[in-house]
Symmetry: C2
Subunit: 561 residues, 2 copies
């Protein structure tokens, strides 16, 4: 028998018995073909791997490529060095900007070395047209069309708990119904933080069977007991949650996932860092690997990968240190990732590069006319460790007929950018900037209208103007000068640049934003979710300030005096 | 909240933590809707289950309804009392007799209470037209058509190891290719007894990922380590195999399956008996239940069932004794099975009832002309504990120009019954009958031609004539009198009668066959596999005697003297 490649003497991970066994592994046509103590055959390529641990390629089943502000081809070229060889991506942001056209552009691009499967974005828009203006929306008919693509392997995170459970005619409920009808075995993914008891049961009873939001010990035990598959992302990896997973041996029922990794973080690693962290936190390497390869693949019915056994795709990692999870090399379908061709440059329709349809602003556009002497305002207070805001009310002075927000607040403004309504709304933010400057961005969840934050009207206008010239991205202005630019020229949300270039731009922008005084664990995420109308407590869209739990608009000024 | 039904105070099986917890369980629209310590709500029906253990309905993922010689509607009415609420059936026999028409007839019948999913028969015929004549055959195009049915959930047991691994243009290889292309996540089921090492790897590398044949300790460990899902049927449940499954905690990687249960055995139980036996053999009830519900459903991607959690179908069993696995009652989609309507009578095309196209035989048809004084014959010797035969050669006397087989043997004759070729072949059987009589049957694997066995030509002719009048079944003749009849009037292989009626007929036939001196653990299976050209060692079809390993015909008479 002649094989393409034989990896000899590696300590090979047996996913089924959760141990490493010294074996020879033969590969043929990109698939593991034969595994034995010693393979008495020749191969075009022989690899002595006696100092290594050989494990399956990592499978990331809940993530958004757009979170890296990058495109599939660039993402593919970057991520495989970290051992990530398959992902299930939910192109939620592209769908908000371009609707079906955005999703189909991704689905039609099959030329990445990384295997990219897709979840269908299920909540586009995140609320409805009365609360936010988006470029596209996805309804049940669109879902039926997308279900015909073999690379579509799940319904992406369903968020709208109320509609799913109690509004059978809602878009969310109709989408679920369509999935069950068209592909009854399709995994339906959920997003249900802080829901438990009868409410959780109603969500599950609707057919949703996974959750990737932040967990606690109690939520882990309840959700697993109720059959919910858990996708554990970084923020869920608390000592308490990790210990619960370990103590109760819940390894069959969860997988590690990356969810959102920004371009700058992506220069350091990806899902491999979570596996590393899990081991550091006391999980046996065998189990941490199992839950980022085998259970992941099984959850998505990708049973052609996720283990080193005959018949599965020959995606694998050679580790030089198991306990440290140090990656020596990565192979995709039996080919060293450094020998893989770079992904072809992705082509997008011309209008994807000209998608910010909005007038240039001037300083006067950021004044807010007022009456009387003071106004009781609804204000967003930033929380430094979460993407939630606190809703507070404070009296703001009126000076020369305008609200004098400059005194204590940063002004937030969202301008509709799809050329649909031209709507614009203001909000005040407490705990943002402390010195003169502004940022403008089209990376504003989920609708991706233009969000401008600033302490000075001229700087806000400059930031917005610069952003329009760039047709998308992040702009930081300090003391009247543009000090950072992140170019997101495709749909205003993603970049065609290499990850390293993009990562450097992003790092620069973050540093400049922090110079303005913004204090947060993740400044970009904090800012870009100020506009997300499903994230507690008070948020701002182009339609106005929204009490997100109640899903209703409230005015900026509650009362004059 | 108003529910359809609440089961109160049951010890409910938590599939995920493998324990029983006292809970209230609410059901709505046939689905588990809410589970809690106490449900403070009303329901149309309340059930106090405080003395019981509540477990999911059993899921049987490898079985053939035709093995019960019954039809789906009758099978459904019978089997749910044993807690079996979902099956994946491989209609292999119907396919051999009627080809696609047989399978589609089953697929179009959706009116059973039992949820019947289907595997596509992958080896029809079991060999090829040179070695056996069948009514139908299934090729890759047929498979492509069948894959469009949502109730088709797997490719049924692929048997032909050689073709799969080494003949890319063979029908088996083409069928697998079609499956991968059309539904890449479809489970491909295998049949690979006694294959290991590089051969097993080649079988797995072709994409097959399960095996249901008889296992040993070594085969269990090798196959599981290589990612093969094991379907454990009765004959695999040896102390050695059970202990291996238990010691190595392989619970995620196997399921109990019934495979073949005949009508008379079906009057006693079904998959429930294997669960019972597993517990008796030392497996913890929690694990035995897990491996006949949860892992079973998961293997087939039937994740809408197999556990008592919100969102899954409300199929459940109440046990009055856990250790004995004593079933008190069974519910299908929340309805007590005794309250379910009986399945509608299944309609088959008229020609399904007239499918034995063959001339009536007379005694002279069973004489074999000879020359010389003796003939060295190839003979099938029956093994009392398996369906294998031993190939022996013995000298048979010639008397009055005919072989005098009556001396020491039972004569076997297979007559083609599809009106295609009119072929007929003889073989001698050692260890069959010891007194005067005969049997005739159209239940002759896999081709289901007419198999006649006898010690007396007149009785053989009578048996064959009677069988033709019945248009299928089993006929036993003792001393010139018909003493038992099993009516299998549909395709000559299955009966429209109730299981109890059919079971009684079958029990009678078995007793009569044993009266003729046939000694075997399973006389019906032993006889009906005498004609199976893929089961070792020497078998007989309408084309002649076949050395099954070599897949070649050999003559009855090797040498004259």
């Amino acid at each position: 028998m002649q094989y393409d490649m034989i990896v000899r003497h590696a300590r090979v991970f047996d996913s089924f018995r959760k141990c490493f066994v010294s074996k020879d592994v033969a590969i043929q046509n990109g698939v593991f073909a034969h595994i034995a103590d010693h393979i008495d055959a020749v191969a075009a390529k022989e690899l002595d791997a006696s100092d290594t641990w050989m494990i399956p390629g990592l499978v990331d089943i809940h993530m958004h490529i757009e979170s890296s502000m990058s495109i599939p081809s660039r993402f593919s070229d970057c991520v495989m060095q970290y051992g990530v060889t398959s992902v299930v991506a939910d192109p939620h942001e592209m769908a908000n900007v371009f609707g079906m056209e955005g999703i189909l552009t991704y689905l039609s691009n099959e030329e990445t070395s990384l295997d990219i499967f897709y979840g269908i974005p299920s909540s586009v828009p995140s609320t409805n047209e009365h609360l936010e203006t988006t470029g596209g929306c996805i309804d049940a008919q669109d879902v039926a069309q997308l279900l015909r693509y073999p690379r579509v392997v799940c319904l992406g995170e369903v968020m709208n708990f109320h509609d799913v459970c109690y509004e059978p005619n809602s878009i969310s409920a109709q989408i679920i119904k369509t999935c069950k009808k068209e592909r009854f075995d399709l995994p339906l993914e959920g997003h249900c933080p802080k829901i438990s008891g009868e409410q959780l049961d109603a969500f599950l009873a609707a057919g949703i069977s996974a959750d990737h939001t932040q967990q606690s010990k109690a939520s882990v035990l309840e959700k697993v007991s109720k059959g919910m598959f858990l996708e554990i992302q970084r923020k869920s990896m608390t000592p308490e949650v990790m210990q619960t997973l370990i103590d109760h041996e819940l390894y069959e029922y969860f997988a590690f996932v990356s969810d959102d990794v920004m371009a700058d973080a992506l220069c350091q690693g990806h899902l491999n860092r979570l596996v590393q962290l899990a081991i550091q936190m006391g999980m046996k390497p065998e189990w941490a690997i199992y839950c980022s390869t085998f259970t992941s693949a099984r959850r998505m019915h990708l049973e052609d990968r996720g283990a080193i056994v005959p018949g599965r795709i020959a995606d694998f990692i050679l580790l030089s240190d198991l306990q440290q999870f140090t990656i020596q090399s990565v192979y995709k379908r039996g080919i060293h990732v450094q020998d893989l061709p770079k992904a072809k440059e992705m082509k997008f329709p011309a209008h994807f590069y000209h998608s910010l349809h909005c007038e240039k602003a001037n300083a006067q556009d950021f004044t807010i006319a007022a009456q009387g002497e003071q106004a009781l305002c609804n204000i967003m207070e930033i929380e430094a460790h979460s993407t939630f805001t606190k809703h507070i009310q404070e009296w703001v002075d009126v000076r020369q007929g305008n609200l004098h927000w400059q005194q204590n607040y940063t002004l937030a403004c969202v301008m509709e950018r799809y050329g649909k309504r031209g709507t614009k709304a203001f909000g005040f933010v407490k705990g943002a900037f402390h010195s003169r400057g502004a940022i403008a961005t089209s990376w504003a969840h989920d609708h991706h209208n233009i969000l401008i934050l600033g302490t000075h009207e001229e700087d806000m206008a400059l930031a917005q103007q610069t952003l329009l010239e760039m047709q998308g991205g992040y702009v930081v202005v300090r003391n009247g000068t543009v000090t950072a630019r992140v170019y997101l020229e495709i749909g205003g949300i993603v970049s065609g640049a290499e990850i390293s270039v993009l990562g450097a731009q992003l790092a620069q922008a973050k540093a400049e934003i922090e110079e303005l005084g913004y204090v947060h664990d993740n400044v970009i995420m904090s800012i870009s979710t100020l506009s997300l109308p499903v994230s507690p407590q008070l948020k701002l869209t182009d339609r106005g300030l929204i009490m997100t739990k109640e899903q209703r608009l409230i005015p900026l000024v509650e009362e004059w005096r």
